[in-house]
Each structure stands twice: as C-alpha cells, then as structure tokens.
Symmetry: D2
Subunit: 484 residues, 4 copies
C-alpha cells in the first residue's frame, strides 16, 4: 500500500495537506505535533480507510450473518493505524493520573480538544476510520468516564482492553417511552442489596449492542438508595454491567431510516433482575448526572467535527457530479446551472461557518472546561447537524436517483447525521435552554441599557432645549388645538 501514488491521480491539483488547510484564525492554537499527526491521519483515511469502506460492507454479508461476526478488514486497519502511531488520539491523557498503568496501547493522545477536533473531521470522512484508530463512539466517551471516575479495579478490568482496542462497549441511557432528554426521567431501577446491585427495566438505542466484541455496558438508572432531592440534580447512578450478565436480553435491533448498522446495531435491551457486584458502581450513588455532564461536552465536539467531515465529502461528490461530462440535461453541463452553483457556494459557506463555531467551542473547553463553554458547545450541537443535513441533501438531489442509493455514501451519511438532531437531546431542547439562559441572564442588562439610553437622550433634549417634533407635526398640533 505504501507505494500508492498520492491522491488524486486524475490530473487534478492535489489539495494541500490538512495541516495547511486549518482556518487561519485557528492556527495559533495548533501545535507542531498535532499538525504532523493530522497529515498522517489524512493520508491514512484517504488512502486506506475510505477505499476500505465498501470492503467492510461486502465482508459483512447478507441477512442474519451480518450480525454474527465483524468484517475482518477492520482488524487490518487497526493494525495499520497502530503502526502509523495514530491510536487513541481522542484521549487527553495528561488529564488523568496513573493512566499509563492501564494503557499499553502506545496511543497518541494528549491533544487539545481543538487539535483532536481537527483530526475527528478527517475521521468523519470514512465509515471505518474512527474505529480503526480506536476513536469510535461510544467507546471514547466510555473510556473517558472510566479513566476519570473509575476505581483501580474497574480500570484494570475494562479500561485496559478498551484502550487496547480488544473489546468494545455500550452506553445505555435512553429508555423507551421516556423523555430521556431530561436525565431525571431515566427510570431503570437500580437497587443495592448487600454486595450486589440489582437492575430492572429497559433501554433502547443501545448502540454497539449488536457487536460480538461489545463486552461491557455503562448503564444509567434511578437509584433506589438515593432519596428524592438528596443528590441535587437527580437520583440517577451509573453502573458497569458486563454484556453477558444473566437477565440482560437484547430483544431486537432498531433501524435508522432502513439502515440496521450491523454488526454494531442499536439494541433494545431488557433487564430482569440483572445482578452485578456493588463495586461496579461508578463514582457513587446518585452521581450519574454528574458523570453525564462531564461526558457530554467533548463528545459533542467529536460528533460535530465528524459531521463536518461527512459534509466535506458530500461537497466533493457534488463538485465531481457537476463536472460529470455525461450529465448534460437540456444542453448545458450541470456546472453551468446557476442553482447548482449556488448550492456549492452555500455549502462552502455554511461548512466554514459551522467549523469556526466548533473550533471556537473547542478552544473554550481547552481554556477552562465543558461547564465554562456551555453556550459555545450548545451552538455547535445545534448548528452542525442541521448544516450537514442541508449540505448532504443538496448533494443527494444533484445526484438524482444515484444519490438515494448505495452507490455513494450520501444517503447513509444523511440518515446517520439525522439522528444527531435527536441524540443527547433534540435540537428544540437545546434551543430552548440556550434561549432561556440568554434571555434570563441578560434581562436586567438589556432593560437597563435601553433605559439608560432613554434617560441620557432625555438629558440631551433638555440640554439642547429640544421639544419633540413628530411625524405630521403641524397637523397633529393643529388637530389637537382644534379640540380645545
């Protein structure tokens, strides 16, 4: 593979490497090490992962066999990524003490959120790249949770193989028939009995539950050992539950616009008296929402940047389509149709604006933490999926029937990014929260400012001896006078 020619081969001017395409405003924030890694990641994604994406689909097979194993191309890619030194880049490893003890992967973490964000954009261009570099959700968030909140025993047992890419994991939060966007509604029951925790209830959208390598779930539930109101935000706890624990049954897989996402899958799972040791509790009784909050910020940045990567791929398919010499409807090649050129322009513009919003949010997290960047993260969470859906939908439309089928990545990209307007809370919840925060926090400031302006204007009126003249002045005065 290494003797492969540089992309592209078809006479096109190669685009500059990723390290030279960083928006100028973000450049001061990117280290030399990150730039080098960025270019290695790009080369790997373009030359090895994207071409492997269709192989992944083929190796998956048909019908039920699709759930019975995973395509072995992914193992080859993982091996390759480790050789290239691009592994676990998501991990801000300097943040955690004693991490080295559990990490024998040699991974390349330690980047800022901004730096890893730029890499995540590249990973988002391919179906296989995130997993190939051990940077796939929900494992990344799960590893962060265990690294930050886990006990020595928990880390040794679960973090080690996860960092090594030997197993995968699930994060079980969403429940059917609940408004799960509000964490306090989570109601799977967790009850401590002696040295055990007993879980009863059901979860769905348990992503990854279909994969035979998925060995551990982080499960959120309502903790019977926490009294109402005791724990502030909620009564939820998080528990580590091995996938093969008796009583835990994956009933079915949910589809996303017809895609079942085998072998990963989105499981509907029931818990009937599922029993795990009390030592599997994470952080403490009633601290589930606290863990949740810490987990969400960087994860949203990762999702956003991967979506931007998918949008950029869509633009590339769009531009290629407009220059397709075989497509000459009504006597003009597609690139001469003004409406389509507008689509390219708007897509360029909207992607660039969205990227700056995410990068700014990343820097804000880097400079303080996720709590200090609430507004910026919410902006990224809301803006990016809608932008990416618009961009991809334009590319679909420009491809005609080809755009909705398996011959491009567009339809699949669209369907999966569509879920990001729902996951981690629907857009409307975030818009409402952002609007409410802004409206409340600035109420006095805005009212006060306008009143102050008016008071100063009144002073100036007096100072200059001005009486207010009004539209229709003499008329109004005459009219008024006539009545007296």
């Amino acid at each position: 593979m290494s003797q492969a020619p540089p992309l592209p081969t078809a006479g096109g001017k190669p685009k500059k490497p990723a390290s030279q395409r960083i928006p100028i405003i973000a450049e001061p924030f990117v280290s030399e090490r990150a730039r080098k890694t960025l270019d290695i990641v790009e080369k790997f994604v373009e030359e090895e992962c994207i071409p492997a994406d269709p192989i992944y689909a083929q190796q998956l097979g048909h019908g039920d066999e699709r759930w019975e194993s995973h395509p072995f191309i992914i193992d080859e890619l993982k091996k390759r990524a480790r050789e290239l030194g691009i592994w676990n880049m998501f991990l801000p490893k300097n943040h955690y003490s004693n991490l080295a003890e559990y990490d024998s992967s040699g991974g390349a973490g330690g980047f800022t959120n901004l730096e890893y964000g730029l890499m995540a954009e590249l990973l988002g261009r391919s179906r296989t790249a995130s997993e190939a570099t051990n940077c796939a959700a929900p494992d990344t968030g799960n590893m962060e949770v265990i690294a930050r909140y886990g006990t020595h025993e928990q880390k040794a047992k679960w973090l080690r193989p996860l960092l090594n890419g030997d197993i995968r994991s699930g994060f079980l939060m969403t429940e059917p028939d609940k408004a799960s966007s509000d964490g306090r509604n989570i109601s799977l029951s967790i009850k401590q009995e002696g040295d055990s925790l007993i879980l009863n209830g059901s979860k769905w959208w348990s992503s990854g539950a279909g994969d035979d390598r998925c060995k551990i779930f982080i499960v959120m539930g309502k903790d019977a050992n926490v009294r109402e109101g005791e724990a502030g935000y909620g009564r939820q706890s998080m528990v580590l539950v091995p996938a093969d624990t008796p009583g835990l049954v994956v009933h079915r897989m949910l589809s996303v616009y017809g895609y079942d996402d085998a072998p990963h899958g989105h499981g509907h799972i029931t818990f009937a008296n599922v029993r795990v040791p009390a030592s599997n509790l994470l952080l403490g009784h009633g601290r589930g929402n606290e863990i949740m909050q810490g987990r969400l910020g960087p994860g949203r940045i990762h999702h956003a940047m991967r979506s931007i990567g998918a949008a950029e791929v869509a633009v590339e398919w769009l531009i290629a389509r407009l220059n397709d010499e075989r497509k000459i409807p009504f006597g003009k090649p597609l690139r001469e149709h003004g409406v389509l050129l507008e689509w390219v322009a708007r897509s360029r513009l909207e992607i660039d604006a969205a990227r700056l919003i995410v990068l700014n949010a990343s820097i804000k997290i880097d400079s303080s933490d996720a709590k200090g960047a609430l507004v910026e993260i919410a902006e990224a969470k809301i803006l990016v999926p809608q932008m990416a859906l618009d961009v991809i939908d334009r590319a679909v439309q420009a491809h005609g029937a080809m755009g909705v089928c398996q011959d491009t990545p567009l339809a699949s990209s669209w369907a999966h990014i569509r879920t990001l307007r729902i996951a981690d809370g629907p857009d409307e919840v975030h818009l409402n929260q952002l609007g409410r925060r802004e409206t409340r926090a600035r109420a006095q400031e805005c009212i006060g400012r306008i009143e102050e302006w008016k008071a100063r204007t009144a002073d100036l009126m007096k100072k200059y001896g001005i009486e207010e003249k009004q539209l229709g002045g003499s008329k109004v005065q005459g009219f008024a006078k006539a009545k007296l």
Copy 2:
C-alpha cells in the same frame, strides 16, 4: 457627561467590556493597544452616540428643511471623539508612504483589519458613531483610494480635509438601467480633450450627495481614451469631480423603504459636459477596475461588522421585550413562550457564526491582502446581511406594531441592511462566483479523488478475493440464471 454612571443602571449585571468579549479563537490576533481603544470606543458609543441618535433625528427637523443643514449634535460628537483619541481608526496608515504629510488629525489608525473590524461592530450599534469618529462610508473607502493612488496634489487638496473631517465625499459608481454589479457595464462617458476630462452620463445611489458638506465625488466611467480590450478587465477610469462643478446636477433623492436618509441622501445625478482638469484622473486611464478591486475587500469587512453590531442591538431589544412585565399575552410573559426563546437562541448562534466568518476573513486579509482572501471575503459579504436581516426581523416581530415604527431602531436597521444584499453586487452574483470558482478549481481534485478511491477499493476486492454481493443477492442470481 463624564460623571455619568456606568451602564446599565437598572440593577442589571453590566456586561463585560468589549475587550473581554472577543471570541476566544480571535484573541491571539488582538494587540493591547487595540483592546484599550476598543473599550474607549464602546464607552463612547454606549454613553454618548446611541443617546444622541434621537437628538440627531430631532435636530434634522421636518420637510425640506431636513436637506438644508446637518444636525449640529454630530459636530459635538466629532469634537468629543477627537478628545478621546478615537478618530480615523479605519486607516491602516502604515501602509501608505508620506501619509503624515497630509494627516494633521492625530487619528488613531494603524490597526489591523481584524482590530478595526471589532471596533466597527461597536460603531454599527449607533446611527451617529461612524461619522462621529470619521469612520463613515463612503469616506473611508474614498480616503483609502486617494491615500493609495492619489498624486501629491490630489492628496493635499482632498485627503487632508477628509482626514480632518472637514468635508465629506461621494463614490459614484452605480448607474440606472445598467447591471452595475459587473463593473464593465459602467458607461458614463469620460473623454480627455486637451488638459480636460469631459464627463457625460448619469449616476444614481450616489450616497451622501444630499449633504452640504459633501464636496468631492470619485466618479467611475468608461474612458474613451482606452481601446476595447487594452486594459484587460475593463475600460473604466476613475476621476475626482468637485461637487460644485457646472453641469453636474443632483436631480432627486432616492428612498430606502420610505427612509430618505436626509441629510446624507442617495442622489440621482446627471453629468452634462462636466469638465475637470486631466490631473483629476486617478492612477491612470483604464485603471478604474483595478482601484475598485482594492477598495472593496476591507469595505466589505466594515459593512459586515457594522451589521453585526446592529444585529446585537436587535437582540438586546428582543431580550428586553421578552422580559417586559407589561406584556402577558394569554397568561404567560413573553419569556415563557418557547418559540420566542428559540428566536433568541437562533439569533445568538447565527450572529456568533457570522462574526467568526468575518473575523477569519479579516485575519486572512491581514496576513496577505484582499486578493488572497477572495473566498473568505465573499463568505462574509453573503452571510452577514442575510443573518442580520433574520435577527432584526425576529426582533421586529416580537415587538409587534412597535417594531415597525420609529420607537425602536429596528425597522430602520432592517431597511438599511436590506440594501447590503444588493450593494457591491447582489447576493446571487457573489454566490454564483463563489460556486463557480469552487466548482472549477476543485473539479479535477474531486473527480480524481473519487476515482482513486474506487481504484483502491477494486484492488482490495481483488486482494481479498471478494466478489460483489448485492442486495437481493441470491434472488438476483437465481433470476438471472433462469433466463439463460
């Protein structure tokens, strides 16, 4: 005025000063001097200019008197701005040689486009602030043109009083019945006869032509002394024409959604054998478009940032309105209506994204020049006015009938920013150019990349001995077989 209390007085937490509200991603680009100036500008705008805006309207008077003088409050504000040392901040003075010779204003130029952009946002919050600091269009662009391209004589005569704020100026490009967005269509005739230039034709949207202080016009026309094709891009020249030159007649003033913008005004002007000395030519015969190009980049940044300032003011009115205790339709204060909170959130988000686009474009200009930042400037030019119109229109709607009248700055802001979707070329021209450039420049790259991906996939298929499996696999094969 100096003993005035800090804003706001109504119990609100004062917002942080402008120097501390710079988006974190832009901070590395802002000097200490710029930060200090920014805070002085903010204080001046909030405490002196915005309260003076209604005074300006009142001093203007009614009916035709509105065209006969200018409100004297503006002279007071100008005096005050010079005292504060905030004058001519737009001027990148280090770019020009010998400028000091013509500049006795003591102005505070020498800022980067980014730094001045941040100030322009603040100036855009008030009707009077730009003129008060001698940073108003079209004077700023005109001063830049004369500073860059003028002769010693031209600078002494026109640049000096302009820098000093003693006179104002017009820029006459747009013509009725022409598609002026394409500079080559400009057709006012310029003809050299001996030592004179003779101008014939008409111009409209000559902004500032109503003001009695407007003494000089920069006029663009088609030069009879340049042969077709000789000058590359066009045959246009630019000429300095004093406003009182015989034969130049301002016929009427054009309105903007009912606003006549007295005393500034937007004139419709005819030229009948208007004669000026040949030494009034700028730069050289046929070099009008070249001057034009240089003038546009920074001007677009200024317009964009001022519009962002106006959008921020609209958000402040919106938030104040939502917290107005007298407005309780259907039993809930406006701040409890979910749709309105979404408007605040979307406005926050859209302004922040647009600002980052403009700041990134500014830095790009600063790091090379306007030509090197074509794409970034186009993005700002297209994105900002549409965003600001959306934001302001939401504030209008939330104010009900109050929003469309003279009791807030909203309706007037909307109408004037509406013209920015047209001025310097309508959105559609810029979208088309941006789309065309992107589509052409990346055609080979995108086609090449997709072909390369396919070629590599084919190699992998061969390597792994995979035959393509298709949806409906066995069926398709059986079906096909049946026919043989």
Copy 3:
C-alpha cells in the same frame, strides 16, 4: 379616459380578463353578476387607478403639507367608480335589515365573500383603488359593525355618510404597552356616569386618524360597568366617539418602516375625560369582544386577497425585469439566470396555493359563518402575508437598488404587508391557537386510531401464527440464549 386602448399596448398578448382567470376549482361559486363586475373592476384598476397612484403621491406634496389635505385625484376616482357602478362591493347588504334606509349610495354590494374576495385581489393591485370604490379598511369593517349592531340613530348619523363616501372612520383597539393580541388586555377605561360615557386612556396604530375626512372612531375599552367574569370572554365595550370630541388628542403619527402614510396616518391618541352620550355605546356593555369576533373574519379575507393582488403585481415587475434588454450581467440577460427563473416559478406556485386557501375559506364563511370557518380563516391569515413578503422580496432583489426605492411599488408593498404579520394578532398567536385547537380536538381520535391499528395487527399476528421477527433476528435470539 374612456377612449384609452386596452392594456397592454406594447405588443404583448393581453392577458385574459379577470372573469376568465378564476381558478377552475372556484368557478362553480361565482355568479354571472360577479363576473361582470370583476371585469369592470379590473379595467378601472388597470386603466385608471394604478396610473393615478403616482399622481396621488405628487398631489400629496412635501413636509407637513402632506397632512393638511388629501390628494384630489381620489375624489375624481371615486366619482368615476360610482359612475361605473363599482361602489361598496364589500357590503353583504342582504344580511342587514332596513339597510336601504341609510344607503343612498347605489352601491353594488350583495356579493358573497368569495366573489368580493376576487374583487379585493384586483383592488389590492393599486394604492388608490380600495378607497376609490369605498372599499378601504378600516371603513369597511366599521360600516359592517354599525350596520349589524348600530341603533337607528347611530346608523342615520354615521353609516349613511360612510356608505356615501362622505366621511371616513377609525377603529381604535390597539394600545401601547399591552399585548393587544389578546382582547381581554385592552384597558382604556370606559365608565358610564348618568347619560354619558367617560373615556380615559391611550390608543395607538389608530389608522386613518391623520385624514381630515376622518370623523368618527369606534373605540374599544374596558367597561367599568361590567363586573369581572360577568360577560364571559371579557369586560370590553365599544363606543362611537366623534373625532372632534374634546379631550381626544392625536399626539403623533407612527411610521411603517420609513413610510408615514400621510394623509391617512397611524395615530397615537390620548383620551383625557373624553365624554360622549351613553347612546353612543354599541350593542351593549361588555359586548366589545363579541363585536370584535364578528368583524374579523371577512376583514382577514379582504386583507389576504389584497395582498395576493400586490404579490401578483410584484411578479409582473419581476417578469418585466427579467426581460429588460438593458440588464445583461455577465453576458446573459437576467431571464437566462436559473436562480431567477426559480424565483418566478416559486412565486407562481406560492401565490396560487395561497389564493386557493383564501378562496376555500371564503366559501366556508359563505356556507356557514366566520365561526364555522375558524380554521380556514386562520390558515389564510397566517399563510398569505408571509407568502406575499417572500414574493415581493424576490422582486425587490431582482431589481437591485431600484427595488428598494420609490421607482416601483415593491418596497412600499413589502413594508405595508409586513404589518399584516402583526395586525389582528401576530402570526405566532394564530399558529399557537391553530396548533392547540388541532392538537386538543384530535388527541383522542389520533391516539385511538393508532391503538386500534395496533390491536388489529395483534389479532392478525395471532390469526396467522406469526411470531415477531426482528432485525438481527437469529443473532438476537442467539445472544439472548447465551445469557441463560
């Protein structure tokens, strides 16, 4: 004028007369008399009113004189309309008893809401046409109110001259600093003392208050003689107040964007112990909201159809612009620019859809009454202004700078139709009410239907002996089994 050639003269195929352009679906509802009237109205509007619109503006003059009289062209047009027999067409006269007693105008009323709606569309094409035919708001609604609810004395005094076009009138509902969209918030105080009613408070957006012919106001206020809760919906009453009653002062005129709408005007009025005879009460104490409801339905249809007329005019300007031979930006006439053709198509489509919505609502009112057509009227109220604004804004944009000024009717149309998204309740109130009504009224139906479907499916599953197969079937079963 009668010898004028048929429109258009410039070689264009004349469009078919209005009676032949009725949407085919609405034809069965239009009488022969209405068709004939429609064509007379169209000829009058096209040949006499639209050409008179600029005369109206010129006769209005400048400065304060604009408020001191009304352009006499309107009197000529009114005379002409009466000659043509197109006068008071809005009046469903057969609905009222004894109307003939007060109506010596010879007006052509008695049309259905659908029929008059079609005429209103034509009237909406011109600034002067509605007034010329005595079909202008707010007089139309006011005449309906007095005809329906007035006493003999009230009719004799006010309805007679209104029907005759001798005077004009105002409808004073909206108050500053109130959420007037909810009628129960109206708080101008009305108090009966002996034989008098005393009014105190203020009103704004009192349209028509600037006109010297405006002699009578219908004023809505909170009636001190009605106890809380007594009158069901509210405590508001309506009172006839002559414009020259002492204590009533028009303080100023409000502008719409930059238009002051002289001489009509939108007044800000205060009432200080304004005293009128108790016999000026309309219908009864506390019955203001009842009158209000009856007034609104047809008025919304009229506004909607006039806006559609304005949108059609905008399309005509747009099409003319696209075919302007002088506008050839970038080498192609505007009519070759794909984006602009899309604008024409979308405008065509959106106008046609909106018109059908309004016509359907009209027929619904005709077949029952405004209460029976609540949903349909709300649809028209919400849909039409937004549609018209979009259509007009496209025409503005296609005209460039010309579009925002006084050289076309576009900017003025836009600004005035913009108020319709606010007047009679902002869009958001109507959307909320429509959504709430639908959501509540159909809750049980929709839940019930879905449950019934599921129950029947379950029956069929049993009948056919089907056990549910799931995505990932065998895997899920195997997976589940492994745990046992």
Copy 4:
C-alpha cells in the same frame, strides 16, 4: 373482520367519514358514486390495510428470502378489495374503446381525476392499500399506456392479466450515467432486424423488478430506425419486453436510503441482445416521448395525493405523540411546548394548501387534458413532495429516536417520498421549466402593462399640470441651481 368496532376505540370522537371531509371548494366536483366509494375505501384502508402493513413486513422474512416470494397477506387483501368493489379505481375506463373486452375484473373505474385523487390520498396512508386495490404504480401507468396505445394482441396478452391483478409490470426508462430527466438522453439501443427488435443497453431504478409476479416490462430506448430530427421531440420508442426474455439480467437491487423495498425492489438491469417480436413495439417507431407525455400527468396527481395521505398519517402520529402522557420533558407535556404546536399548525396549513393545488390541477385535467394543465400539474409535482417531507420530518423529530426507526411508518415514508423530488425529473428541472414558461409567455404582457401605466400617469401629470416633486425637493433644486 366485519364485526370490528368503528375507529377509534379509545374514547376519541371519530372523525367524519372521508366523503364529508372534502374541502368545500371541491365539493361540486364529486359525484355521489365517488363519495360512496370514498367511504368504502377509507374503511378498508383503516380497518384492514394499515393493520396489515406490519404483517406484510413480518411475512416478508429476513435476508435473501425476502426476495423469493411475496407476503401472502397481500393476496387476502386483494380478494377482500374485490369483494368490496374497490378495484382498478384509477382507470378512466370510459376513455378507451373496447376495454370491456379485456377487463373481466369488475373493477370500479370511470372516476374523474379529482375523484380518484381523493381515493389515492386514502390509499397513500398504507403500504399495502394501493396494491390491494390494484392501483399501485407502476402498474397503473402501464395499464393506461397499453389500454390507450396497445394493439388487440398486446391488450389480450398483457392488459387482461394486469387488470385482473394476476401479474405485475415494470416501466424501464431511467438509465445510469444519463440525465434521464430529459427524455431525449435515453440511449438504450432498439434496432429492428426483420420481424425482431433487438435491445442493448442498461436501465436502473426499474421498480418492481424484484417481484416474482412481475412479468412484463415497458422499455424505452433510442430507436435506430428513426433518423435524427425525424420524429420531432426525439428518437425514442417504447417496447413491451417479457421479464424472462433471454439476455435481460437483473444485476442488483438499489436501496432507498436503507430500504431495499423487497420484494418489489428497484432493479439495475442489463440488456444484451435481448430479442422480442417487432409486434411488441408500442404505437410506432419514435413515438416513445409522445407516450411518455400522456402517461405523466395523471401519474403525478396520484403520487401527489398518496403523499398527502402519508403526510396526514404523520400529523396523526405527531398529535398522538404530543398527547402522550408518558412524555413530560422539563415538567410540561409535549402539547404545552409552543414550538411543537406551531409544527402542528404549519403542517395543517401546508397540507391543506397542497391538497387544493392538486385538486385544482385534477379538475383542470378533467376539464381538458394533461397538456392543458401543464402549469397546474407542475405546481403539484413541485409543491407536494417538499411539503410532505417537511411535515413528516417534524413528526420524526417530535418522536425522537423512535421516529427514525421501524416503530412508526415515519422514517420509511420520508425516505420514499424523498425520491419524488427526483423521479420524473428533479424539482429543479420543473422549477426551471415553469419559471421559463411564465417568464417568456408573459414578457410582453408585463412590459407592456408597466409601460402603459407609465404613459397614462404621464398623461395625468400633464392634465393636472403637475411637475414632479422629488424627495429633498427644494434642496435638490437649490443644489442644482447653485452649480449654474
């Protein structure tokens, strides 16, 4: 089944039967027979088809077995529909001579386009209903083509079993790598050699090709026997090709987003020297585009009305969701969230407007033919799919994760209606054509009208002795004078 209780059972007020929900404006066009049929269709769809939709999916099975047979529930539903007398309602049978000879189905055709349109809306509510009543595409269009253009032999062989529901059919037009929206680009080769026609080339999006009951294809191709330009619009012919003809190979099935639509399927088919008798030619050499045009109009109405049916179902799911007592995010049931109520209102409004556009187009076809209704059909074609996608997407979003999966019909509806923005020509082609037609057809009329208005205004100016007064009048005059 007949003893089933009326819908709904859950305490909801049953909605009025379909015959009483016809928009009032359309009522005059619906016969008594159609009303009765409408109610029978509605009862069948609600009580038998929608509950059977999940059975269909279950009987289909998993993996490749999904392509090997069809769910037998469909046969039961077909039997039932024939018993109810609702079969072949799409067929305007009176239009064709001798049809009875081939039709032993006893079907209930003979409705107007409007009447069948109303039925199609009901059929569009269920996945199985169209096929159950033998009203499914592409069979309906194919039956119409054969009925109208077929020879006696062709009718006897293919129309008879199609009318009887014994076989199904495909319509093969779209080709890979062609801009098929322009029929003249179709290039599969058809060549007559003696008594045979030889076909070579490939087709894709051959819908229905997966079904074992699909026995006959109508294939469009470029006819080597027609010389360039000879046949006016194009050189294309249409040929009847039995599905089991040697040389015809279905290579693969295309997916729509993630749906493969088994057993129907969308085939990619190649033709290698496929030979059929010359008597299989339809109508004549080079007459393919002529057949095409006739086929499209009513088909577009059917698609549009079925999409409206799907949108109505989405609204029902949306309303049920908003009233789901288990969904209380942030302390308020979903039905109290203002944004969601707006979604219901907008959906109601947009569906109602779209329906009127389609019904008006249907009546236009009924009153002349598809050619006479070009504009109206284009409006329906463009408006409906976009509207339905918006409505359905709102319902998806309100359902959160449940909305994108198999637990509601929403995601599948969305994906399939998404193809209607592409099929039969993408939106952009239709918008362009509609815009171009309107812009050209009305050019002279619009220019002429505006010129005429101006001429008449000039006459009036002269008549009244008015000189134009301008904004800034005295100033402008003084200014101008000063220069002289």
